[in-house]
């Protein structure tokens, strides 16, 4: 607790507060624009954080992540177009509320639920992570291999085609092998080309596949991509009576969101759908859901943002990203020389606790940005893509260059942009590629170390109690997405029928 207060003292310094504000503002803006989400936002901002100190950089990225989760609710409520996948469930009751002329109230409830959900998630992150990290310090190569496998099981949960997701993940694992092998110093797939001796620049790949690929898709499809509303929107926060009416729904969604966020492979989108479906199940008036009730908005938005804090738990304690955005955030940590994992809590205590406090403050800044900036965010939706697209491309190319002041990285942005375009076109999800790239080194090194330590026998990985238990969890995590897909499909079908 003392460390949390110490972190809070640092995080309330004007410089870090400013970063939390900028991050929350940009995050909400990125989330509000359909086609640009928190992942692209974090990817674009990583190069801009080079000159910042690590704490400021990660508060900024964390605030973008958290802001992006709520920004998606704006177009979902106003236009029935979720700005981000996790805001899809918000359309169920948010849009009907807007049609009744209560858009401001729906946005107010979305902001309140997101802020309080986010705070709950961050509190759980702050108190659970150090305990998990202590346990993780006793892990050997076997446990790390097992945990990395758990992380890789996320891959099957992403996208519509499991086979395409697996191919994408395997390509990520393959890309991670390029460069000099850590254990034997052998050159692998370098073809004598020096710029890739140290492996591919992680951020260039992220920027390329996520952002350039998306813009190229817009260039070729010539989509106008603008939305307009004549209604003047101003946020109306819920009254105490309205909050008390939703108290159990909110509390339930906080818990659901946080737990789902911690689980690998099941992120904010599942959390919001799950939160919504449970709100319907426990409601005394389930028939009212879908017609425009504040409880519906509260249920999904609170679960959605609570999942953000939860998803950071496996990243910070084990170095294993729990979602696509946290996989991208690894890039932000690595450029500052910070390696996520249990040692982070022992070696970078100040960083960790200031980040926790910063994330807590980011929830408040997000609320302020949402209240004050709602008219601005609605205006952003009117910006033509023909202006936004070139800005994104210039940021991508210059961002790639800025990482190492290297022209080669700009070419990498282009190459991976084209790859990203084709992946997007043929529905190969990007997230498995990035997760494979992030976890590739850890899973390979720990696997080979285990083999060397165990005299080239596979069995001890399964018979060692902890690694065996984690591997069983990995198998469960592998099959859970199949169950989840079925479950979400059922909810959507039920909603359509209603």
């Amino acid at each position: 607790m003392d460390l949390f207060w110490l972190g809070l003292k640092t995080a309330v310094q004007p410089y870090y507060l400013l970063m939390a504000f900028i991050g929350a503002f940009l995050g909400v803006a990125f989330g509000a624009i359909p086609g640009i989400n928190a992942i692209i936002g974090v990817a674009l901002l990583i190069p801009l954080t080079i000159s910042l100190d690590p704490i400021a950089a990660f508060i900024l990225l964390g605030a973008v992540y958290t802001g992006g989760a709520v920004g998606g609710a704006f177009p979902a409520i106003l236009f029935k177009i979720p700005g981000a996948p996790e805001a899809a469930a918000t359309t169920f009751d948010g849009y009907p509320l807007a049609q009744k002329g209560q858009a401001g109230k729906a946005i107010g409830m979305a902001l309140f639920a997101s802020t309080t959900g986010g705070m709950f998630g961050v509190l759980v992150l702050s108190f659970l992570s150090p305990q998990l990290a202590k346990i993780a310090l006793s892990f050997s190569a076997q446990e790390y291999f097992a945990f990395a496998l758990v992380g890789l099981t996320i891959i099957v949960a992403i996208g519509e085609s499991m086979l395409k997701a697996i191919i994408s993940g395997l390509l990520g694992l393959l890309l991670a092998t390029v460069g000099i092998d850590k254990l034997t110093t052998a050159e692998r797939f370098t073809f004598g080309f020096k710029p890739i001796f140290g492996g591919f620049e992680f951020v260039s790949i992220i920027i390329g596949v996520f952002a350039v690929g998306e813009v190229l898709e817009k260039v070729q499809s010539q989509e106008p991509g603008t939305l307009t509303t004549k209604e003047k929107v101003s946020t109306k926060l819920p009254s105490l009576k309205e909050v008390l009416e939703c108290k159990w729904t909110l509390l339930r969604s906080y818990i659901i969101g946080t737990i789902i966020g911690i689980l690998p492979g099941v992120g904010a989108t599942t959390a919001s759908f799950f939160g919504y479906s449970e709100a319907v199940r426990f409601s005394k008036h389930p028939e009212k859901f879908g017609t425009g009730v504040l409880e519906g908005v509260a249920a999904c938005e609170s679960a959605d943002n609570a999942a953000v804090g939860g998803a950071l738990v496996p990243l910070l304690t084990l170095g294993i990203p729990g979602s696509a955005t946290t996989a991208v955030m690894v890039g932000g940590l690595l450029i500052h020389g910070i390696i996520p994992g249990p040692l982070l809590f022992a070696e970078q205590t100040k960083f960790v606790y200031t980040f926790f406090s910063g994330m807590f403050i980011a929830q408040i800044t997000m609320l302020i940005c949402g209240i004050i900036g709602v008219r601005f965010f609605v205006k952003i939706l009117n910006w033509p893509y023909s202006v936004l697209g070139p800005v994104i491309l210039v940021l991508c190319v210059i961002g790639g260059f800025a990482m190492r002041n290297n022209y080669f990285d700009m070419w990498m942005v282009l190459v991976f942009g084209i790859i990203g375009y084709y992946m997007n076109r043929y529905e190969y999800p990007f997230a498995p590629l990035i997760i494979g790239l992030v976890l590739g080194d850890l899973v390979e090194t720990s696997f080979r170390r285990t083999l060397i330590l165990q005299d080239y026998r596979f069995l001890p990985i399964f018979t060692r109690p902890l690694s065996g238990a984690i591997l069983i969890f990995a198998i469960l995590a592998l099959f859970y997405p199949l169950f989840r897909k079925y479950y979400v499909k059922k909810i959507i079908e039920r909603r359509k029928k209603d």
């Binding site: 080079i50 086979l163 393959l174 260059f401 022209y407 282009l414 084709y422 080979r448 060397i452």
Partner: protein
């Protein structure tokens, strides 16, 4: 085969071809220690899995009625090659010319071309947009982030240095 989207087959086929080539390349890895857990083992395992998964995907697409798509309605419209190639070409020229023209001139030209490519015909936006974008990113990277941007060569370098 004609009824199905041929493009769907391209990616797994490229993946298979590349995987075979890279598998052959693993024989060139030079190392002296670790007989079994050698540097070839892991990439080879991934390459074999890639080939197998791609083959299963091709097989699934060949024998499915929708050509691999989960939903017929989700089939995307045909690629507008001229727009796509235009976009890639402009980006390629931007990166190539930046080394010679420097960030400022290359970005002004690129932003204008990219806006045109994205269908913007508003003259005032085409004039003001590139200047604002170039200036904003220049000041953010050079003065806020202290990241030196490409300055170009010869007179273009002299031009870039005027703004430093």
């Amino acid at each position: 085969m004609n009824e199905k989207d041929k493009g769907e087959f391209i990616i797994p086929m490229i993946v298979i071809a590349l995987s075979i080539l890279l598998y052959a390349n693993t024989y060139t890895f030079k190392f002296t220690t670790y007989q079994k857990a050698n540097p070839q083992m892991w990439p080879r395992g991934i390459l074999v899995l890639l080939i197998l998964t791609s083959l299963i995907l091709i097989g699934k697409m060949l024998f499915s009625k929708t050509g691999g798509h989960t939903n017929e309605e989700k089939r995307k419209p045909k690629i507008r090659w001229h727009s796509l190639l235009g976009g890639v070409l402009v980006l390629l020229l931007y990166i190539f010319l930046m080394k010679y023209l420097g960030y400022i001139i290359a970005t002004l030209l690129f932003t204008c071309c990219a806006m045109l490519l994205l269908g913007n015909r508003n003259k005032s936006q085409l004039f003001v947009g590139p200047i604002l974008v170039t200036a904003f990113i220049f000041f953010v990277f050079t003065y806020a982030m202290y990241v030196p941007l490409p300055k170009g060569i010869w007179i273009f370098r002299a031009f870039s240095l005027m703004f430093q």
